[in-house]
Each structure stands twice: as C-alpha cells, then as structure tokens.
C-alpha cells in the first residue's frame, strides 16, 4: 500500500533509534542477566507420575492444570488464556484448574514486540517486520514478564494454542505407545484420547507415560473454522465464583497465625519519616505493636480496622516533598518546559511546518490533562512472611520479577530468595505495576520475622500513595486554507510515566519516554506539513502508567484540536477524518462508526455529536458520543464504538472491556483530577474522585472489526477516544470548546 510505505519512509529516521531495548524499555535488558534458555518453571515442582509439556500445561494422575500467563485485573485473561490452551488440547471448561504464572523468564511477554519496534502499527514493510523480529528476540533474551500495554492477547494468541497442541499430540503419542494403535487413528475429545473403537483414555491416566516420551513439537494449529470456543460467545470461567462470592481476591486471603497491618506513610511521595508520636495509638484497642518503616509507621493489630484506626492517630513528622508543594506550581513548571532543554524528542517533521503555518488561517490552542489516580476498588494489600531463608509474598501484581526485586532490596536479600504468588485483582488500571505495598509489606514483615503479615492500605492511604497519570499540557498550532488543513504543529509537555516506572524498577533510561509520542507521532491524517514533539517536565510528582498511558492525554489533545482545525476548514468532523485518513483499514473503522451512529451531520435542538479516532498499542478505535444540553447540564445519551483487533477472541468479554474503557475514559474526563497541596494529594476518597457512576452511564454500542493484519490488544485502546469525542460533542451541542480535563470545572453534567 503506497500510503503505508510513505509513512514508513517518513518514520524511518525514528527507526534508526536502536531497536533492541531502545524505545519502550530503555536499558532494562542490559540491567538483567539474559537467560540462555528459559527452563520450564513447572518442571521444578513436578509430582511423581506427572507431566509438563511446556510452561502452560501440567497433568498429574489427579488433575489438569493450565497456567494463565498474565495477571488478571478483571480484563479476563484468567479465563481466555486457559481457554486458548483448551481449544487445541480438547478440554472443556470445568475439566482443568487455572493457576497464575509464577516469576519466570519462560513467561516473557512477546506481545511488546510491536510496541518496541519503532514503526507505526499498520506498517508491514520488511523493515518494520525485521525490527519487530529483533524486538521479539530481545524480549526472549531479557525474559521480561509483565502484564500491561494491552499485550495479553497479542502475546499469547499463538503460543497458548501451540502449547495446547503440543500437549495434545504428546498425549496421543503416549496413547499410541500404550495401545499399539497408530497416532493417525487416534483423536481427542473432552479430556480423553479416543481409540478407533470408541474406547476412551483420560489424559490424566496418560500423565506418567507421557512424561517418559519427548514432547511432540511438530504440531499444526487447527483451522479457525474448527474452533469450538475461540471467537464464540462463552461464559468467562471466573463469572460464577465472582457472582457467588467464592472467588478470593488478594485482600481476602488469610493465613494461620497472621497479624494485621495498616500504615500511615509520608504523603510527600517517596520521602522519609522524621519522627513520630504513637502514645495515643498504642493504647487503642486491638493494637499490638507500632513499627517505624522508612517512609512512615505501621500499626500491627488483631484486625485491619483496629490497625487502620490506630494508624490515623499516630502523629508523624514528615520530610518535605521534593516536588512543588502546591498544584499551581506544577502547572507553572509544565508550562515552562516547552524549551529545547526539556525536549524529549521531535517525533515527526514532515514538509515545511513554519511555511505551512504562515500559508493559511492560523488556529492555536492550549490543552491540559491533570494528574489522575488509579483507585481500583480493591485497595493495595498483600500477605508476606520473612524468615532467615527468604520471603514468601502473596500479592496481586503485574510484574512478578519486579516484585521479587523490590521486596528483596527492601530486606537486604536476593530476588531469588523471594517466592511470589499472584492473586486475583480487584482492578488495577496500572496501579499494580507500582510497588509501594510490596516494599512496605517487606519492611514490616522483616521486622516480624516468622510471622505472616497481612497489609491492607486504607482507601485514604491508597489515594495518598497513588502514583498518578502524567500531568500534561499541549500547545498546538495549525493552519487551514481553502477547506484544507495545511499545517499542524503538535507540542506536548508532560511528566514521564513509563520512564518513571522503569526508574522505580531500577533502570534509568536516557531515551525519550516513548509513551509521550503516542497520539502525536502515530497520527494517520494526511497533513502535508506536520510536526510533533514531546517535552519531558522535570522535578514534579512521580507519574506512572494509567490505563492507556500517553494516549490518555495526547489522544484528547490531538483529536480535540483536529476537531478545531476541521471546524475552521468548514468540514464535517467525521467525513473530514475519513478523507484525511491514509490507512484503508482505519478509514473503514471511521466509516463503520459513522454507519452505526447513522451520522448525518449536525443534529440541532441542543443535541450534538462528536467523533474521535486514536490508535494506541496498535489498536485503532473510533468513537462517536452524542449529548444533549439540558437545563441541568450536559447529558451523555449514547456512545458508538468501532475497534479493529484483527481477531475478536472472546466477543462477550470484548464488548464488556470496550464498554468499561469508555466509562473509564468519559468518567475521568468529566469528573477527576488529583491536585497537590502541602505536597499531598488533596483527593483521598471516591467522593473527591468518582469516575463515572451508573446514573451518568450512557448506552454504549460496540462493534469489533477483524481487518487488521495481526491480533491486537484491547484493554486500553478504547479509552483515549472517549474524552475528545465527548469534548467535540459538547462543542457541537453548545458551541463551547473544552480544552482541559476534568470537564466539570467548565460545564455541568446531568
């Protein structure tokens, strides 16, 4: 496709940045010892007469265990990942147990390869494919195991089906050996190898024999037409236990002899405690002990509530914050960062932007996105026990190896001395990529060696210690002439979410934060003179990955401002985007969402529609929001979403995830910000930072397209278009442009 190769050539300058470890992950790989060949971690603890074919399947004479490689934060991998194995292994739901992967380089995330390679998502040029292959090899060597970046399905779509097929064919080989019947005459169904006469040999009965033969690795994956489960509506495996209340989240785990801990930590994030007075707290009911830890105090009690109540009553003197104490100074610093000193990278420079800006009517605007919190409903928690031999920790986390590193460092041990068990999570949205609960739990348990400690953050501590989404500002200019967009110059200044996370994982990166490129680099509109750059603000609040990361702010800026340019050019917001979009499958997404909404231009009568289109993590999503201006404020009536993921593996969960992403994007755009005063976040519970509640939730109609050349992730990409589509709808209904989140600072919502 001519358009794509033109984009590739344009971006090849960017492509000259070192591929392996150059862009997204900085020097993470260099900080790790590259394992030679990742051993199957299931082999180590294998019971007698049991077999493991690969890191995802284990069969004993009693049961079949399938490993969900990624962490389940609610997105459904604890169901779809075992189902993808079961599809090829011919197992039915209920015939196997699901466990989460422990830390091992065998579970490296191949799904990051596309994000690592500096080529745009639709680019299938040989150069792009070569870069992706190099990135994949680097990932394999680094052994980086992480849930994030909407990578769970791209990572596992092929490898789990292969894992299931290898297990199936090896079981058939074992059955052939036992029965003397040729493999070609055997088939498998519902956990059994079936002989030609209809006799069944259960897989579990073949475990011991299968362990004695080499795994059959030359397998052919089934034609998708034969699939029983993938791509069809199915009941998620975790739905029933979540509805009956039987499913245990991390916070629900108990252990014999455990004590309960709650903390009060320095709200000036990352700073130590100077002194404290616990004279009142130590006399409170249920309190056993009060411990000093590096950045606060911990109360040990007989019950979480006693511990939380007492922790509130400890008077602490804190070291002051390293970042500005007051919010206004944060914005001032962001505004002062659009200079060469802070330049992260100029991501694109097509044509002659300065000449283009002089050619037509100039449009200029400043946009803002505040800090926001993650605040998953299950607060941070964990159970840990430290002995002289090491630490064992049970905590819901997206980075198993990083948990080992952080905990080990906190107690002066080696990462391999930390045994990690993952847990079902009550949401994350990026919160459980950070480590405050892990480090704090390790410090507490280390002072109580031999005793299991259950740590639960109060909601207030969870908010106060949340490392928020980046704060960001955009200064955009563009010009229009004769109904055409002639030039666009997109400059963004923000704190660095991904570099910040890497630094806290122990890896300082000198590379630009590639997340700040998302939404200003991968823009697919044909604008002849186009420039974009990111500036990295220094010295502010630590920032981290918040569902959809860079695009959560940049998508709003770019699609809000594109709407302004399109309006200035006198064009229809949807048709103009379709006409400008140079990627055929992306045009199709825009056309589809237009068909779904029956878009026919302005609605009148206080109603307005806005459209937005953003690609993030390789998945392109178009959304239309319809609003009505009422006497009480803006009411969101309906949202239409079209997303292309190459293959919809689980249609029900697909719809649920898209709807949830839209609620996330809209709710925070309307209602949420974190602001600092005296160095502490001012929002400490949900009445300050609600997101969306049910009464504000519109009908959200979803369509999944399957035109993309590869299988894409979905956990984040529907988030970024929601905010700009809402802002653009509000403009269409009221004539008012909102350029700063949260919108409720400027307009009321019903």
């Amino acid at each position: 496709m001519a358009e794509i190769s033109r984009l590739s050539r344009r971006t090849f300058v960017f492509g000259s940045v070192a591929v392996a470890g150059g862009v997204a992950f900085g020097s993470y790989g260099r900080a790790q010892e590259a394992p030679k060949a990742a051993a199957n971690p299931l082999a180590a603890g294998l019971a007698p007469d049991s077999v493991t074919f690969n890191p995802w399947v284990e069969i004993s004479p009693e049961k079949i265990i399938l490993i969900a490689q990624h962490a389940d934060k609610g997105q459904g991998v604890g169901s779809i990942q075992p189902v993808m194995i079961a599809e090829e292994l011919d197992l039915e739901p209920g015939q196997f147990e699901v466990r989460f992967a422990g830390p091992s380089p065998a579970y490296y995330n191949s799904g990051f390869a596309h994000e690592l390679a500096p080529f745009m998502a639709p680019d299938q040029s040989p150069e792009a494919e070569k870069a992706r292959a190099a990135a994949l090899e680097w990932l394999r060597k680094s052994g980086l195991q992480m849930t994030g970046g909407s990578s769970a399905i791209p990572d596992t779509y092929d490898k789990l089906r292969v894992a299931g097929a290898v297990a199936r064919e090896t079981l058939k080989a074992a059955a052939a050996k036992r029965s003397g019947i040729a493999v070609a005459d055997l088939r498998t169904e519902a956990g059994n190898v079936i002989l030609p006469d209809g006799a069944k040999i259960p897989y579990v009965a073949l475990a011991a024999e299968a362990a004695k033969i080499p795994p059959v690795t030359d397998v052919k994956l089934r034609d998708p037409k034969q699939w029983r489960m993938i791509g069809k509506p199915m009941e998620r495996l975790d739905i029933r236990p979540k509805v009956t209340g039987e499913l245990k989240f991390g916070i629900d785990r108990v252990m014999d002899g455990m004590v309960y801990a709650a903390v009060q930590l320095n709200p000036n994030k990352g700073q130590p405690i100077k002194s404290y007075d616990a004279s009142k707290a130590e006399k409170m009911p249920g309190v056993r002990k009060i411990l000093k830890i590096s950045n606060g105090i911990a109360v040990i009690a007989t019950n979480s509530w006693y511990a939380m109540k007492a922790a509130e009553q400890v008077k602490c003197e804190w070291a002051p914050s390293k970042y500005p104490a007051e919010q206004a100074d944060h914005w001032k610093a962001v505004g002062a960062s659009f200079t060469s000193e802070f330049l992260g990278k100029q991501w694109r420079n097509d044509g002659d932007v300065e000449a283009g800006l002089k050619a037509g009517k100039l449009v200029e605007a400043e946009y803002r996105a505040p800090y926001v919190a993650h605040a998953p409903l299950e607060p941070l928690s964990g159970i840990g026990i430290v002995t002289d031999a090491g630490m064992e920790i049970w905590v819901g986390h997206q980075s198993p190896q990083a948990v080992q590193q952080i905990a080990a460092k906190a107690i002066g041990m080696k990462p391999e001395q930390v045994t990690f068990h993952n847990e079902w999570m009550g949401g994350s949205f990026g919160h459980r990529l950070e480590f405050e609960n892990v480090r704090v739990l390790a410090e507490i348990a280390n002072q109580l060696r031999g005793t299991p400690v259950k740590l639960v953050f109060s909601r207030e501590q969870d908010f106060l210690q949340d490392i928020p989404r980046q704060i960001a500002m955009a200064r955009y200019r563009g010009s229009v002439q004769d109904g055409k967009i002639v030039a666009a110059d997109f400059q963004v200044a923000a704190t660095t979410p991904f570099k910040g996370l890497l630094e806290r994982m122990g890896t300082v990166s000198k590379d630009p934060d590639s997340q700040l490129a998302v939404g200003i680099w991968n823009v697919y509109y044909d604008i002849p003179n186009y420039r974009s750059a990111s500036y990295e603000v220094q010295g502010l609040s630590p920032s981290t990955t918040w569902r959809s990361v860079g695009a959560s702010a940049n998508g709003f800026f770019t699609e809000g401002f594109m709407d302004e340019l399109i309006h200035a050019a006198g064009l229809d917001p949807l048709q103009a985007r379709i006409d400008l979009c140079k990627i055929p499958i992306y045009r199709k997404i825009l056309e589809t969402v237009g068909e779904m909404a029956d878009w026919k231009g302005p609605l009148g009568n206080g109603k307005g529609r806005g459209v937005a289109f953003v690609e993030s993590f390789g998945t392109a999503v178009a959304e239309i929001v319809e609003v009505t201006m009422t006497d009480a404020g803006i009411r969101i009536d309906k949202v239409w979403v079209a997303a292309d993921v190459g293959k919809v593996v689980d249609p029900v969960n697909f719809e649920n995830n898209v709807q949830g992403s839209v609620v996330w994007g809209l709710g925070h755009a309307m209602n949420c910000e974190i602001t600092y005063a005296n160095g502490a976040a001012q929002q400490t519970n949900y009445h300050h930072h609600e997101g969306m509640r049910l009464y504000q939730c519109p009908v959200i109609e979803v369509r999944g397209l399957e035109n993309d050349f590869t299988v894409r992730g979905l956990g984040e990409p529907p988030v970024p278009p929601a905010a700009p589509a809402l802002a653009n709808a509000i403009f269409a209904a009221t004539g008012r442009r909102i350029r700063e989140m949260p919108f409720n600072k400027f307009i009321d919502f019903v």
Partner: protein
C-alpha cells in the same frame, strides 16, 4: 461479648461496640464476600442485608446490629442461586468482580422494594454502588432480567 446472627447462624464476637459490621464479618468471622472499598459509604462494595434491607456494612456499628439478622450473598439464594445472581451470570456482568457482591445485594434490595424498576429508578438506587471497571450497562440489563425472573415484569 456481642451476639450476632449472620445467615441464620449465631456468633459471639469480642470487639469494641463501634467496630463496623464489615470488619467483624471479614476479619473476625472470615466471611470475605463483603468487600472493603472506601470505608465511608462512597462505594457500596460492603453492602449486606440487615433485617432484609441493604446496608453499608462499613457504616453499621456492630453494637447497632447485634440481635438483628445479617445476610450476606452466601445466603440470599437459600442454597441455590438467587435470580439476581442468575441474571448476573447470564449477562456476564463482572469484570474484576470486586464491587459485584455489593451491587447484587443492592439490586436484591431494590427489587424487593420495586419489583419492576424503570431505568430512572435503577439509576437512583444503584448509583451509590461504584464500579471502576464500568459494568453499568450490564448491571442495568441484569436487573431488568432479574425482575422478569422474579415475576415483577
């Protein structure tokens, strides 16, 4: 010692009278289906029934519920799934699922008071239950389905 009846079973608990019911259930009795989310009645994850009415257990002092009948999700279906639970499964409402026990306890209470609620009534009664995953459309649909199952519609 305070006496408490949970799901028809009597328990003796030795805690201060102001301890919220939530923490007695979770940490003293090991009933972890009511969840801690906010501690100030802003999220509804801790919702249980006290004498048949939805109550935020993080706000109910144990001394005030002693002698009353506390019901958690384990007992709403009397050994089977409650129609609301069936509807939640049919619509595959949960994502992370952490809020959903509280959502269902609130929905059961709603359907007891209003057997066939309108969307507006659902909005009013259910908006105190926060869902960070954004499952609201499915919650609304599941409540309508449950109303039909329970003969209200």
């Amino acid at each position: 010692m305070l006496e408490l009846t949970v799901n028809g079973i009597k328990h003796q608990v030795d805690v201060v009278p102001e301890m919220p019911l939530l923490w007695v259930l979770r940490d003293e009795l090991g009933i972890t289906s009511p969840k801690y989310g906010c501690g100030i009645a802003q999220c509804g994850a801790c919702t249980v029934h006290v004498d048949g009415h939805a109550v935020r257990s993080c706000q109910a002092r144990i001394a005030d519920v002693a002698g009353k009948a506390v019901t958690t999700i384990e007992a709403v279906g009397h050994g089977k799934l409650h129609p609301v639970q069936e509807a939640w499964i049919e619509h595959q409402v949960p994502q992370c699922g952490y809020c959903q026990i509280g959502q269902m306890m609130q929905a059961i209470s709603l359907l007891t008071l209003i057997p066939n609620p309108s969307d507006d009534e659902i909005n009013q009664v259910m908006s105190g239950n926060l869902c960070r995953c954004g499952t609201y459309e499915r919650i609304r649909a599941a409540i309508h389905t449950a109303a039909r199952k329970m003969g209200g519609a």
